[in-house]
Each structure stands twice: as structure tokens, then as C-alpha cells.
Point group: none
Chain length 226, copies 4
DNA sequence: CATGAATGAGGTTTCATTCAT
DNA sequence: TATGAATGAAACCTCATTCAT
């Protein structure tokens, strides 16, 4: 996976441990100052490591960028891809509601990473960028699968499920990217509700279903941070 | 507006001319390499100016960033804000259709700028960033006005017009930001049609209206800037 | 020739001037401390330039190494190749005497460079190294030409002129390389006389000729560079 | 001798063993990359030791340089100095032939070391350098002894035996130093023959002796080390 | 007004050496 | 005895900005 990243250590456990440490340090400084404006001195301090130690576990500054972005996207994809298996016996409509709620809350949890990814993916070399974009595409694919299931089940009517799935995903991202705008206008849960209803109205065959199950919107306790 | 930007020239016309020249040069290099990775030598070359001349008309590298982003957003806002005055006597639904078509085409024309703005706004100091974000908010406001008009006219039913307007705007941006994903899936006109129908389905009081006027998709000539 | 070396200046005269300055600075520090042990701060100081200025006229530290070595070898080759044209109407034997005298004095003038070249050529990348070695081979070729002329004229008898020419050249170099040994044992002029007689004895058809013209050792003015 | 080199071990046999191991490792990496461009990680790997172990038996990187060069020169001097005792009852001329043959073959065996010594002796501190140069001078002295014997025996006529001895030795070295030139022009045995005849022609009282014994060039088996 | 040479602080990265285990 | 993780000074190089011309 990232076996091609330089390290001077042969102790895989240690390498994993230290890279985690680096990712956490990177989260602090990258997100605050941006990739190019963060220097390795600050990076090292944020990781509670010496500069030398940093370079034992990582080949370059860009490697840290990749480590950081990839880690975040992997976590996200992991949850997203595990989503359907956690669904009980519910309808596509309900599943989609749950999916949106889950995804948007995940984004809210990792707001900074999401924003950072939109800003700094360009800094990666083309291989790394490809992997990052692939990971991003997987979220859309997971959502699209759900939509197609709903179409087959006769609950949804959708011309282009890819675009709709893409909308669902990126409107989630926007909660992080445009928080300077949205935070002043609504809460996360309101945002989730608005978007869910908008989307359902646009795709439901029987529009009454949308309003029908609205009652349970608040049934689940919030998992939002802060 | 930008009277606080340093210049050694007292000839306002010349200042304006040179700054245009700089903005056009910046467009080439900033978009290709990103702000931090572009140096002033490349900048000067792209502007067909000497480095010294650059600093006659601009106080710092960051000034150029601001000039570039602000110019793009101004052009956009200008068109957006002039939109309603160019409307003839048409219904809110038709107006919204036109708005989306116009806005998305504008974004398509200035794809690079849009992407760049998402990536580099962070690099601005807080004053400049505020102005950029305000300009961005104006687009949403213009769209929101349209929506509220439709609600008052009884054509739309919308819980939170701000969020819907925001959706319309950012889904336009996504055409530029996520072109690596979307370009492979659909053309601009398809994207416009999909999004327009989705949005209308979600907000139209009388759903039948949505499909009804699709015929005129290509009637209006492009209003895209350059 | 070295048109592929990076510079940020477009003023060729200035580039040439500054590169000369750099070569002279390099001569001081490289020769004293060796290439790898000289840092760019010392280099800049020795050149009476700032580090930044250095990098205006040169792309890297290694470029300076090449500039320095190449300059020295060019000067040498220039004199060596111009040698035959400066010869009057003299015999091959006399010409060889003159050649050796000239070449060894040139080496003596540029002792440090000669030593340095033996030590640091390895540090060059393969292209630069090739050019340096080619320049070095030209000296041998010039000497070999002289020998073959003597053979044709019936004055010399030589099995393998290349090897003999090579001997003449490298024994000259040894005056610089092994000065720690030779300086204590003889003067340059003694060294020249010894080597000249040795060589002539080994190649002259009529051995009496060797001793015959020894008297004029000091007749020709030095052709040493600088 | 090298009692002043730091070690943390008190087991002299082990120290000797490990230092041999280090010398062999050094041979691989130093010769390939040069002293300054070899780092201690590579050094340790080449020695099949850990970095820590290295520093148990050696005080610094420079110590290894000294160990390596000194070992090579000692081996050489050892053979050279033992040379006369291995001579049977032969003439000075024959002895010189044998000496040259032996010495040049030794150089050929240890080409890389010879080249390396010319390049990196400067890196040693002055004490170590002195010892290295002394060892190098011993070769010349041994050869000179041979020459003086020939002079006394009336076979050679030599003005300055030191310089001639020096020539013999350094022309041997040149086989290693300038192999990029010589290898393309002749084989080792040809080189030996050419140089031997040249030298003899220059010093033999009775020139006919030179050609006379050429027939036995291949009679003695190699005495090369390793 | 226009130029671009010059500056030097600060960027990323390397590496000899130490020392806790 | 043996290990290799950790250190941080110092290496090379870049670049926004100034200012003499």
C-alpha cells in the first residue's frame, strides 16, 4: 500500500506507531497553516519528535502530506464501505436517510481534513493524487449503489444516479468547506434534514413517503463533535 | 476598494492597465502551479514584465493573489448581479432555469479560477479573505432572492431558501472542482439539465411544471465571460 | 559548451565575469579543503559574493566544480594545442625538449588544479566527467603527435607512442601530485632535465644526440600561463 | 601503531577481527562512492555490522579511512620490502624486471585502492597522512635500493636514482589511476613490457642487454596479493 | 518609469555520533 | 557485546523583496 515510503527502521510496528504520531502532528499544523506554509521544524514540534526522527519514518515532507490525506480518506471509506453491512432490514429510503446522516456526521467530525483535502491534493505527485482521488470516488460509488438499489426496488426514480450520488457526497463536503457560510445559517442536524428532504423530493417515486418518515429524524442521538 | 494596495505609480490608468496585465499573467502560473509554488520570476515572465515593474504596481506576492481572486469573483458577481435586470417577463421557474444555466456556464468558463479559489483563499490575510468570502456570498444571495421570489409567487415551496440557494451555487462550483470525476460521466449541458431538474423537483409546488419547459434549453446564448 | 548551466542572468558578459570570479574563489577554497569539505558559505565568501548571487550564475555546487576543473584543463589544452604552431624550424628532438619544458612548467604553475583534478573528477556527473577526461586525453594526443613526427623523421624509435606520450604527460602531473615527495629531492628544472634525458634515452635512435643539446636548457623563455 | 584508535572492546583478537571486517566493508563502499559520499549506514551495511558495533571498534569515520588506506599500503609495502629477500642469485637488470612486473601486478590487483589513495589522502588528519605518505615513500625507497645496486654493479648508469625510482613507482600507479585511458590502449602485460623496456633503455650501460632477456617475460608466476 | 542583480534568512534534508536497551 | 532510534547542527539551495542604475 504505502510500502514504497522510505524508512530507516526495520521494525514495522514502530514504523506504524511513529507514522500515526506524525499523522496526528500533521493534523495540527497542516490544517492550521496549510501544507506549504508549514515548515519541518514546526512539523517536528507538533509530532513531538526531532526533525531527524521524522525523517527516519518518512522520506519527505510530501510523504507526510500523503500519509495524512490518505489516512483520513481511508478512515472515511472504511466506514462508508462498511455501511451497508450494518443496515438491518430497512427500505432504500430509510437506508439513504441513514447514509446521509452518517456521512455528513463523519464529515463534521473530520471537517479540517475534508477542507484540507480540497485544498492540498494538488501538492501530491501524480501517483499519490490518483490514489487519493480513487478513495474519494469510492464514497460516491457506495452512495450510488444505494440509489440503484432504491431504483430497482421501485422507490426511487433517478435519471443519472452517478450525478445524484455525487451531489449527496459533495453537499456533505460543503458542510466542511463552506462552514464560514453555513455555520451562521444552520446547525449540522438542520443541514442534514434539509438536504435529506431536498434529495428525497427529487428522487422519490411516491412523494408522500418523504414527509411520512420525517418524524424519526431526531430519534438518533447526535454523534456530532463539539 | 483596493486603494490600500501599494503602487509607486501615480498614473491611475497605468496602474489599472498593469494590474490587468498582472492578473492575466497570474492566471497562467497560479492556476498551473499553485500560489506557493509559483515564484516571482515566473510570475514576472508570465506577465511580460520585469520583477521590478511588478513591484511598482503591487506591494507583494500576496497582493497578486488577492487581485487575481478578487477580479475573478467580481466578474462573476457582476454577471450574477446583473442577471435579474436582463430577465424579461418570465416566471420564477424559468428564471431559475436561466440562472442555473448561466451560472454553471460561467463556472465552466472560469474553471481554473474556481478551483484555485477553493484552494488558495486560505493564503490571504483576514481582510482580503473577508472580502473574497463576501463576494462569494453575494452569488448565493442573488440566487436566494430568485428563490424567495418564486416562493412569494407561489411557484416554489422551500423550507430554507438559503440552503437551497447555497446548494445551487456550490453544485455549480463542483463542476469545476470535481471535474476529474464529472467530466468522465457527463457533459456540461447534461450536468446542467440534471441539476436543474433535481432542484426543481425538490422545490416546485406543481411538479408537472418541471418537465414542461425543458424544450428551451438551448434558447439563450451564452453569457459566459471570456 | 557550458550553455546548459543554469543562470538567472541574461547578460552574457556579466555571466562570464561572475563565473570567472567564482572560478577564482573556488580555486582558493576547493584546493585547500577539497570539494566535499567546502561549504557554500565559505565558497561565497571566497568569491566575494553572497550565496544568492552565486546561485544566480551557477546551478549547483557541482557546477562550480565543473567550471573550475574545466577552466583549468581548457587553459592547459589551449597552450598545449597551440604549441606546435609556435615552433620554429626545429628538429623533433628539440621540439620534444621544448614540449616537456613547457608542459611541466604549466603544471608547476597550476599545481593545485592538477592535484585537485586527480582527486575530485569522480565527483562530477558522467557527462561532465567525460568532458574532463576528453580534455585530459587531448594533452596526450598532442604529445603523441610530436613523437610520431620524430619517428617519421627517423629521430625516434618507439614501439608504442601512445604509452610514451602518456608517460610524458603523467610524469609532468606527478610533479604536482607528489610534490610532498619530489620537492624535497629536486627543483622543477632538475626534474625537467632528468625526465627529458630519461625519455630521450629511451626513444632516440642516435643516443649521442641526447647529451648534445643539453646546453640550451634555459634558452627559451617560459610559456607558462598566468 | 594504531593503539591510539578508540575501541570499547578489550579483547584484542576481536578488535583485530572486527577491524578486518570493517576494512573489507570499507573497500566496497569507499571505492564505489568515495569517502565523503559514503554514510555510516551504508558503511555498516557493507560491513555486516550495526552502526553501534562499528563505533565499538573504531572511533570515527575518519578512523576507517585511515584503517583502509593504511592496510592497503601496508600490504603493498610488505610485499615490496620482502621482494629482495625472495630474489635468487640474479643480476640487477633481471631483478628490476622482476620488481616492475611484481609491483605493477600488485597495483593491478588493488587498482581501486590505489586510485582511492590518490583521491582521499587529503581527508586524513596530518598524523595519519604522514604515516600514509611514509608508507608510500617506502616503495620508492625499495626501488631506489635496487637501482643503486645496479649502479654499483656497473649495469646501470643513473644521474638521479630517486627520480627514476619514483618514475617506476608512479608509472605503476598510473595503470590504476588512468585506467580510463590505458585500458583501451593496452593490456597490463603490454604496459609492463613497454615501461620495462623504456626504463631499461634509459638506465642500462650496455643497451644490448635490454632486448636480450625479453624472452622470459612470463617465467615468474604472479606474486599479486589476493 | 523600468530593470534585474543582489541579498540572506529560512526552506528541506542528511548524517556522524551517542546511549538506553 | 550488540543494537539502531534519536539527535540537531549544518549542508545545499530558493526566493520575496529592494534599490542602484
Amino acid at each position: 500500500m504505502n510500502d514504497d515510503m522510505r524508512t530507516y527502521s526495520h521494525d514495522e510496528t514502530l514504523v506504524k506507531l511513529r507514522r500515526m504520531q506524525i499523522i496526528q502532528g500533521a493534523a495540527k499544523v497542516f490544517v492550521e497553516k496549510g501544507y506549504d506554509r508549514t515548515n519541518m521544524r514546526e512539523m517536528a514540534a507538533a509530532c513531538n519528535m526531532s526533525i531527524g526522527a521524522l525523517y527516519h519514518y518518512v522520506g519527505s515532507k510530501e510523504d507526510i502530506l500523503y500519509l495524512f490525506i490518505n489516512d483520513g480518506l481511508s478512515r472515511l471509506s472504511e466506514v462508508v464501505e462498511g455501511f451497508s453491512s450494518r443496515l438491518g432490514d430497512i427500505s432504500p429510503t430509510e437506508a439513504l436517510r441513514e447514509f446521509i446522516k452518517m456521512y455528513y456526521r463523519l464529515i463534521d467530525d473530520g471537517q479540517n481534513l475534508c477542507l484540507f483535502t480540497y485544498q492540498e491534493t494538488k501538492g501530491l505527485d501524480s501517483n499519490a493524487r490518483r490514489r487519493v482521488l480513487d478513495a474519494a470516488a469510492r464514497d460516491v460509488a457506495a452512495c450510488e449503489k444505494l440509489l440503484r438499489w432504491g431504483v430497482e426496488a421501485g422507490e426511487f426514480k433517478i435519471d443519472n444516479p452517478t450525478v445524484v450520488a455525487h451531489n449527496i457526497i459533495v453537499l456533505g463536503h460543503m458542510w466542511a468547506i463552506r462552514r464560514w457560510f453555513l455555520r451562521k445559517r444552520c446547525t449540522l442536524e438542520e443541514y442534514i434534514r434539509e438536504q435529506t428532504e431536498s434529495i428525497l423530493k427529487a428522487i422519490l417515486v411516491d412523494t408522500r413517503a418523504a414527509a411520512g418518515s420525517r418524524k424519526d429524524t431526531e430519534r438518533h442521538p447526535s454523534v456530532g463533535v463539539k
